[in-house]
């Protein structure tokens, strides 16, 4: 089982960030790894409510994810389940992971801490247990130099 944590400092108030995170309008603006469009976004932002987002990447592939809001504390904390229902990786389809987002007010605006946990694909598990990532990291300098 692995998790991923990322931190961003955003020059916007926590309430604005919270709204961007949890509203369909907000999600349709930012969700996706490249400039490809979000095709639709739905969000019922209350505990037990669900969201659904579909986006197209610039390579033409479409991906859709859905999940349920498990905790919502405006403008501080969002916990939601996360599942790929289309696209994603074949070995992950049907796997349910969890996204936790914490918002802390700072002078400049908001510090956002994002964690995607319970990523439990077989390879993610094994890579964690057997130290693949560490092994690969050591080789990365060479790999990037050879690009």
């Amino acid at each position: 089982m692995t998790s991923l944590t990322l931190v961003r400092r955003i020059r916007a108030r926590p309430a604005v960030v919270f709204q961007a995170l949890t509203s369909a309008e907000g999600m349709s603006q930012w969700l996706g790894p490249d400039a490809g469009p979000v095709l639709f976004a739905e969000s019922d932002a209350r505990v037990g409510g669900s969201f659904r987002v579909r986006f197209r990447m610039l390579d033409g592939t479409e991906h859709e994810s859905t999940g349920e809001y498990l905790e919502l504390v405006a403008p501080k904390r969002v916990v939601m389940s996360w599942q790929w229902t289309a696209g994603g990786d074949p070995d992950e389809r049907g796997e349910i992971s969890r996204v936790v987002i914490e918002l802390a007010p700072i002078e400049a605006g908001t510090e956002l801490t994002f964690t995607h946990e319970r990523l439990q694909t077989e390879a993610a598990r094994s890579s964690h247990e057997r130290g693949w990532i560490g092994a690969l990291d050591k080789l990365e300098r060479y790999v990037s130099a050879a690009t």
């Binding site: 991923l4 990322l6 961003r8 955003i10 020059r11 916007a12 108030r13 604005v16 960030v17 709204q19 961007a20 995170l21 907000g26 603006q29 930012w30 969700l31 996706g32 790894p33 490249d34 990447m57 390579d59 592939t61 991906h63 696209g87 994603g88 990786d89 074949p90 070995d91 605006g109 908001t110 956002l112 994002f114 995607h116 990523l119 390879a123 993610a124 094994s126 890579s127 057997r130 693949w132 990532i133 092994a135 690969l136 050591k138 080789l139 990365e140 300098r141 060479y142 790999v143 050879a146 690009t147």
Partner: protein, 118 residues
């Protein structure tokens, strides 16, 4: 989220599971090209065992072997490793780019709200 070739990833990871093979790859990453006999020297295993590891690495596309006279030279082939790293980091890439976009959007929204006095 990107098109990966599962069979190739499996082969790469299977090759990387073994500590001796990782040590061989790490050495090849440092030294560019190494003869088979030089590769075998640090290990407490016999040359035929090293040859078997090299077979696995070559089948996975992680090394190439070339023969000149009686000397076999081994080189690293980084492409499958790069694919494996990309695969392992795909979530990081996905969320990192999404959060960058979230930050830009929230900053625009906040600025607009402040301009209109909210």
């Amino acid at each position: 989220m990107v098109k990966y070739r599962p069979a190739e990833l499996d082969r790469t990871f299977a090759a990387l599971v073994d500590q001796t093979r990782r040590a061989i790859l790490a050495r090849l990453a440092r030294e560019d090209r190494v003869t088979v006999s030089a590769l075998a020297t640090p290990f407490a295993i016999k040359l035929p065992a090293v040859m078997k590891h090299l077979d696995v690495l070559e089948d996975a596309g992680l090394i190439t072997r070339s023969k000149e006279g009686r000397t076999v030279t081994v080189r690293l082939r980084p492409d499958p490793m790069r694919d494996a790293l990309d695969w392992l980091r795909r979530y990081e890439r996905f969320w990192s780019r999404s959060l960058d976009r979230l930050a830009e959007y929230a900053e625009r929204e906040d600025a607009a709200a402040r301009r209109s006095g909210r």
